[in-house]
């Protein structure tokens, strides 16, 4: 009894001393620490695990390296990612054969994993095999870049690996930059692989086998994750912050107060009204960047009456008050994708770009009459709870505007899981949502959002010419021909109006005044490697 109590006291004393010491260390490094608050959770350290959250994708970009990475460019005074400039990350050099069928990756000399062991070509081969073989989110993504089998990856030497393609896919290399294409310390991961789980998906959910810029120090899912800088990192310039604290703070108002009081350094998911108030008070820095790879849309189910009739879709397109919708939903904070002046052929092959959509009530009534609905019809407009802050005012305006041409709209609000289920089952007649493509190439947008009977084909669009164009463009090596194909896709969208492009919302990052270098990334999360205090 006596011994026990004394032992406990002694243990307590030394624990207290340790605590005091670590508290001191904590105070010293506050300036070198970035505290990032978010309303979401990191639910896995391995971004390829089914169910991984966007926050997990963001984390993996900082913790893992990929073979290649997108560069960044200035856009209206801010940094945004640039998918047209690809540089090596774990690879020091990337060589593309003239026919576009072979990529050679030469690994960085002296690159190591977090445990200090050297990165080998075998590790890279195993990691690439994992992206096409594991039962994870990675294979469907890699398929979009014609990367499908382990035989496509070959070890050329101790520091060189090659990737072979059957066809010159435009986005094969881009797919090595996405969050799923992580490079894994295969020796470590294989130690935790089992017969049922040869790619160590279960173990890597809670443990990192990585070599990226940051090392996971502690990870408490749903609460907080702490990262420490990997000083031996070779994949790029050494980031400035030594320590990153990622904390889940569910209440947006609390997050806003934390950043404004200077207790947190960065937040990217505040409510639009909070962002406005904060930028007016001017105690924080607000970086607002249009989400160049995203779009908000109003979709009509093209396989369901009455939206299977082109004239009905055109009538709705002509009935909506676009500018008012934009104001009501987002206070006009974003880039409009309506009201363009062109007709026939678009001025460029970029996408998303503004479409010639404008309100014309008389035209709408006439189209509705031609379609055999002179007195209109009734339908439901569905929104998800998660997007209701902006979608609810928008829905009210849609109802009012369509009421004027005789269409009765009932607004239905569904919890997100229900909304997604109904969307995937294609039972929603008329709804709004947003989409973001990781790889913002025009054909990729159309392939993802306008072809095939799959979930992201928001309007259940099925157009023979579009399907053929998308197939062709994927492997088109002649830039002029690709340009023609891409423009034609945009024309079809304009002619057939399967859905209505509305706008690109702003990505709004609120941060401490002294922060610099924030970059809008295609996965819409903060890349801590870009950030520094000045």
């Amino acid at each position: 009894m006596e011994v026990n109590r004394r032992g406990l006291l002694a243990a307590g004393g030394s624990a207290a001393a340790l605590l005091a010491a670590s508290r001191e260390a904590g105070a010293q490094t506050r300036a070198e620490t970035l505290r990032y608050v978010t309303g979401n959770v990191i639910n896995t350290l391995d971004p390829t695990v089914p169910g991984a959250t966007r926050e997990s994708f963001g984390l993996s970009m900082n913790v893992y390296d990929r073979l290649a990475a997108f560069g960044r460019r200035q856009f209206e005074g801010n940094w945004v990612f640039d998918h047209n400039s690809i540089r090596g990350e774990l690879a020091e050099r990337i060589e593309r054969s003239p026919d576009g069928l072979r990529f050679t990756f030469v690994l960085r000399e002296g690159a190591t994993w977090h445990d200090g062991t050297p990165v080998t070509a075998e590790d890279v081969k195993w990691s690439l095999d994992r992206t096409v073989s594991a039962r994870s989110l990675a294979p469907p993504q890699m398929q979009l870049g014609s990367i499908t089998r382990p035989e496509q990856f070959r070890i050329l030497g101790p520091r060189a690996v090659e990737m072979l393609l059957d066809k010159p896919d435009r986005l094969a290399l881009s797919n090595t930059c996405v969050p799923y294409a992580i490079m894994v310390n295969s020796t470590l991961a294989k130690r935790h692989a089992t017969a049922d789980d040869p790619w160590a998906l279960n173990w890597m959910r809670d443990n990192a086998a990585a070599g990226g810029a940051y090392i996971v120090e502690t990870h408490r899912p749903g609460q907080q994750t702490v990262l420490r800088r990997n000083d031996a990192w070779k994949g790029g310039p050494l980031p400035q912050f030594r320590r990153i604290i990622i904390q889940t703070v569910p209440e947006p108002a609390t997050r806003a107060s934390l950043v404004e009081r200077g207790d947190a350094d960065l937040c990217i998911d505040l409510s639009p009204s909070d962002v406005q108030a904060l930028s007016q008070r001017g105690r924080v820095k607000v970086v607002s960047i249009p989400q160049t790879n995203g779009f908000t849309h109003i979709s009509m189910n093209n396989r369901m009456a009455p939206f299977d009739d082109l004239r009905v879709r055109q009538a709705i397109a002509a009935a909506l008050p676009y500018q008012d919708l934009f104001q009501a939903a987002l206070f006009g904070r974003g880039r409009a994708l309506f009201g363009a002046g062109w007709s026939g052929s678009p001025p460029s092959s970029d996408f998303p770009q503004p479409m010639p959509l404008r309100q014309d009530l008389d035209g709408a009534r006439e189209l509705l009459r031609q379609s055999g609905h002179p007195n209109g019809f009734s339908t439901t407009f569905t929104i998800g709870v998660g997007i209701s802050p902006w979608a609810e005012p928008m829905a009210a305006l849609v109802r009012e505007a369509l009421g004027r041409i005789g269409i009765q709209v009932e607004i239905r609000k569904l919890p997100d899981a229900q909304f997604n289920t109904a969307q995937a089952e294609r039972t929603l007649p008329f709804y709004t949502e947003g989409g973001t493509a990781w790889l913002p190439a025009t054909y990729y947008f159309f392939r993802l959002y306008f072809t095939r009977p799959q979930r992201w084909n928001f309007a259940s669009f099925d157009n023979a010419e579009m399907n053929a164009l998308v197939e062709q463009a994927q492997f088109e090596t002649d830039p002029a021909a690709y340009e023609r194909q891409a423009k034609r896709m945009i024309e079809i969208l304009n002619e057939q109006v399967p859905l209505l492009l509305m706008w690109q919302p702003l990505h709004e990052a609120v941060m401490a005044q002294n922060m610099d270098g924030y970059t809008y990334q295609f996965y819409r999360q903060a890349d801590f490697r870009d950030l520094r205090r000045v």
Partner: protein, 349 residues
């Protein structure tokens, strides 16, 4: 001989507790099956919700469905779940990527600590207020107490919570930032009980203890305000009834001091309904303090269950409901045992 006499009542009490616990098992089983079926009847497919990858097609949805075991027939799912529960496993959470049991074990102490703190605070306020109001019914004191209680009930917890954060953190900076149980830059104590205040006290880290206490003050006050009304009103009503009874009149006529009459004879007899309501308030708070947990980023079980519910994530919701049912049984039992302390005539039935 004397030892046997001492053990007799104890053993009887223990047997009664055992019987009570056993008789709760069918109810728990019912709750288990009911929640299981309810979750699956609700619209919303968790597989679709979680298969949100950019290239996510039907294949990905099927993959998640298989991972969650939802591809099997419903009776088989139920049997598997019951077998898991019997072994102490509650399934995996898709929302956090962790086993539900781990999550609940980590989060339950946070919720319990907050609820205990709030309940203590509420009782500490409600008992004197209720007694004062009962001693002078109709007086300004009574009206003031009624006003306070009405205010506490009327203002929703997230409003009072946000208000407290705004005043004490944002404007005055008296409170630490309202993000969880401990400052992010502070070190956590060794996990002995999971209750931070207890753990810090055990290792005699008083600086840490103060930090943890500072974090809990605002959320506990928010919750205490909300439950002040039932506790204070019940104390008042019960005290009024007892003060009007014959034994109090007798005590007074015998010339006992007013203090002794009120605190010893009246209050002790008035406590039984207050205990009952405290038990109910405690169980309710534990599950219903989700808004407080959200506002203060408190890593508790209620916000965990809500997040899971919004995502149609079955396992955490089922685990949470089961846990709450078990806690409800335990709290009721505890309250019954406390009756015996407050009134020796009452016994555990």
């Amino acid at each position: 001989m004397s030892e046997a006499r001492a053990q007799g009542p104890l053993r009887r009490a223990a047997r009664r507790v055992g019987i009570r616990l056993l008789s709760a098992l069918p109810a728990l089983f019912g709750v288990l099956v009911f929640t299981f079926i309810l979750m699956r009847v609700l619209p919303g497919d968790p597989a679709v919700f979680f298969a949100a990858g950019a290239a996510g097609g039907q294949a990905e949805i099927e993959m998640v469905r298989q991972q969650m075991g939802l591809d099997r027939p419903l009776p088989e799912q139920l049997l598997r779940y019951l077998w898991d529960v019997a072994r102490g496993e509650l399934g995996m959470s898709m929302t956090t990527g962790q086993p539900v049991r781990t999550d609940l074990l980590e989060r339950l102490p946070a919720s319990l600590e907050l609820t205990f703190a709030a309940l203590l605070l509420a009782l500490g306020l409600a008992l004197p207020l209720g007694v004062l109001a009962a001693l002078r019914p109709g007086s300004p004191v009574d009206h003031l107490v009624r006003f306070l209680c009405t205010l506490g009930v009327c203002v929703p917890t997230f409003v009072s919570g946000l208000l407290l954060v705004y005043v004490f953190y944002y404007l005055l900076a008296w409170a630490p930032d309202p993000t969880g149980r401990l400052d992010v830059f502070a070190a956590t104590p060794p996990g002995i009980t999971g209750f931070l205040l207890v753990d810090f006290a055990l290792v005699r880290d008083w600086e840490g203890w103060r930090a943890a206490a500072a974090q809990i003050v605002l959320p506990a006050s928010t919750m205490a305000l909300f439950v002040l009304a039932p506790l204070a009103r019940m104390t008042r009503a019960s005290m009024l009834a007892v003060l009007g009874s014959e034994f109090i009149r007798t005590a007074r006529s015998l010339g006992l001091s007013g203090r002794r009459v009120v605190l010893v004879y009246a209050l002790r007899n008035a406590l039984i309904p207050v205990l009952t309501i405290s038990g109910i308030v405690f169980s309710t708070m534990l599950g219903a303090n989700v808004l407080v947990e959200k506002v203060f980023s408190w890593p508790g079980v209620a916000s965990y269950a809500l997040d899971a519910l919004l995502a149609s994530d079955y396992a955490p919701v089922q685990g949470f409901v089961l846990l709450m049912a078990a806690i409800f049984v335990a709290v009721n039992l505890l309250v019954d045992l406390l009756y015996g302390v407050a009134d020796p005539r009452a016994s555990v039935a």
